[in-house]
């Protein structure tokens, strides 16, 4: 059997499908996150103002000379002032003599927001640590609308959206690579097993993986489909058996009824027609059975035994036609196969030779050497241009010949193929056709 050519399957892989979905999911999540951050701060101007001053103080503290005057403040500021206040000037002397440094109310981090006309004013103090020393920065700012807050919001987004989401996305991506590969491994195994299934061995099933369950259910579904296929083959086999019975019984009656007719031309013609019909029905049923058959490769048979049995069966018929049928055993002839099927193969080939080789020429059957059996006649042989056609069903070299429907060699080919063997016709040395069948060997043969 020739394997149908395997075309590459197009379409996205599971990996890329998951990657695209993960990417989209991360994007939607990020947008949602941004929306939540923006909405939260829009409803809490105080919190925004606090963040704004903290951000400005951080920028000043991170600058090399920490000079507040060098900074222009938030974008769109109507008014901006910033300067250090002296902590020492705020200290007071206690009554107990020794200097006691108290922390006045002004020297804590605080923020105050008030409305000024259409806009707002934000005032506040932030502490900046510089080594051991703490300096206090007083800032005042007047502005309008959302624009001064843009840096604050951007900072917030970086902190709360980008920083957590980017590593998470990368992690998911890596997980995707590993997970998809691992999850698909049983699927790949199942694929290999399904590819290895052959029509000749219908009892083989795909093994079910323990995990993942989804692959298991798919495999089980495939096996159920195979069961159904098996059943329908069984139905087909049953049908051919029934058809055989239904066709052969009336044919038997026809044939035996002919004996009641008086001898003459009519009876002779009817006998010939009935014989042809019988042969045709037999061959069509054989072919249907061969198509539905599966070979149990567990059994080994001896080609020499089969060859001898077929020759023994057909020799009386050959002698009746005044011809000789010979058999030769060339040794080492055990093969895996179905005895009756190979028997029919050889019988069909001998029948074919009896029809096509002339009058009194002998027919020789040889088994071996090794896993082959051949049938040779001394007729005209098969012309090279016909060799590819003779195994086709209903093909005949001479369409007018009425001795068969051209199914015999078709049956032979099908049965040989069901064994994984092959058949070819060649010119025999000294003339005539030589049909040679090669089978798979039963055991590895040592040739030395």
């Amino acid at each position: 059997m020739t394997n149908p050519r395997r075309l590459p399957v197009t379409g996205p892989t599971l990996f890329s499908q998951i990657a695209v979905r993960l990417g989209l999911f991360a994007l939607v999540f990020a947008l949602l996150d941004i929306g939540i951050v923006v909405a939260t701060y829009a409803r809490q101007p105080e919190a925004l103002a606090q963040e704004l001053l903290t951000l400005e103080a951080t920028r000043i503290a991170n600058s090399p000379d920490k000079t507040p005057g060098a900074f222009a403040g938030p974008p769109g500021a109507r008014q901006w002032s910033a300067g250090y206040i002296n902590a020492a000037s705020a200290s007071i002397r206690g009554a107990g003599g020794g200097p006691t440094t108290l922390r006045p109310a002004a020297l804590v981090d605080w923020t105050q927001r008030e409305r000024v006309g259409a806009g707002y004013r934000v005032t506040g103090v932030r502490s900046i640590r510089e080594g051991e020393e703490t300096r206090w920065l007083l800032m005042r700012f007047e502005g309008e609308g959302l624009r001064p807050y843009v840096p604050v919001i951007l900072n917030e987004l970086t902190q709360h959206v980008a920083l957590p989401l980017i590593p998470l996305s990368l992690l998911l991506f890596a997980f995707n690579i590993v997970a998809v590969r691992r999850v698909l491994q049983p699927l790949k195994r199942a694929e290999d097993e399904i590819d290895a299934l052959e029509a000749e061995h219908m009892s083989v099933r795909v093994s079910e993986p323990r995990a993942p369950r989804e692959v298991g259910t798919l495999v089980r579904a495939v096996n159920r489909a195979l069961d159904r296929l098996d059943e329908s083959m069984a139905v087909l086999r049953g049908f051919t058996a029934n058809a055989a019975h239904e066709l052969r019984t009336p044919l038997s009656i026809m044939q035996l009824s002919l004996d009641r007719l008086p001898p003459g031309q009519v009876r002779q013609d009817l006998e010939a027609d009935t014989a042809y019909m019988t042969r045709l029905v037999g061959q069509m049923l054989d072919l249907a059975q061969a198509d539905a058959m599966s070979i149990d490769t567990g059994a080994t048979v001896d080609l020499a035994d089969i060859g001898r049995a077929v020759v023994a069966m057909l020799a009386p018929k050959a002698f009746e036609a005044n011809r000789e049928l010979r058999f030769e055993d060339r040794g080492d002839t055990r093969v895996r196969g179905h005895e009756e099927a190979i028997f029919r193969v050889v019988r069909n080939l001998i029948d074919n030779a009896l029809i096509h080789a002339p009058g009194d020429t002998p027919i020789e059957v040889a088994a071996g050497p090794g896993s082959q059996i051949s049938v040779r006649d001394r007729g005209p042989g098969v012309p090279p241009e016909d060799r590819e056609h003779i195994f086709e069903r209903f093909w005949r070299a001479d369409r007018r010949a009425s001795d068969g429907a051209g199914l015999g060699l078709g049956i032979v080919k099908r049965l040989v193929e069901a064994h994984g063997g092959n058949i070819a016709v060649e010119d025999a040395p000294g003339g005539g056709a030589l049909f040679r069948i090669r089978f798979a060997t039963a055991e590895p043969v040592h040739t030395d």
């Binding site: 055989a244 019984t249 009656i253 004996d259 020759v311 029919r344």
Partner: protein, 225 residues
Amino acid sequence: MRLLLVEDNGRLAGLIREGLDRQGFAVDWCETAEGAEAARQVSGYDLVLLDLGLPDADGLDLIRGMRRAKDATPILVLTARGGLDDRVAGLDAGADDYLVKPFQIPELAARCRALLRRPGATLGTTLAVGNVLMHPAERTVSVCDRVIDATPREVDLLEHLLRRAGRVVPKPALESALYSMDAEVTANALEATVSRLRKRLTQAEADVQIRTVHGVGYALFGPPA
């Protein structure tokens, strides 16, 4: 010679009975497995012709039942089932021969005679093919009623070939039957015996011939019908 025909198709059964009657057989007919059992209880038959597709049982079960009951009556299966495994299944069940429908009466009659010629079967008292007649019990052979000379080994050979007349008898089967285990069997001992037997039959003007099937065995054919 009494035959029992088990066949559910009435017309076919009628035609078979008519044909076998012309060939000198007496045939009783029943339609079902149950009928066949009943008929066998009442009278002994020399041969059973059995259709496998019966309305009330599988013919194979009937065969198995008979063999379990130690009934050794030869059984010839007549069937429309010609599948790859059917013949083997039939023979495994205990049938002696298997003939796929449709068949012609001369073929059926020849198979019946072959089964009846088997050792122990009814035809065992005398063996006759063409003008050759043999008494297995007395070990004598006659052609045209004239007794001919033959060695015991040649008579043994002729008996085996006569019992399977028209069929090829494999060489190993003949060798093991003709030569005991301890005797020296040269490669062409059998060939020589066959050759001597042929000569004797030709001299006595027998109308049977012993043909060689190279690589397989020998077959004895009667005169053309």
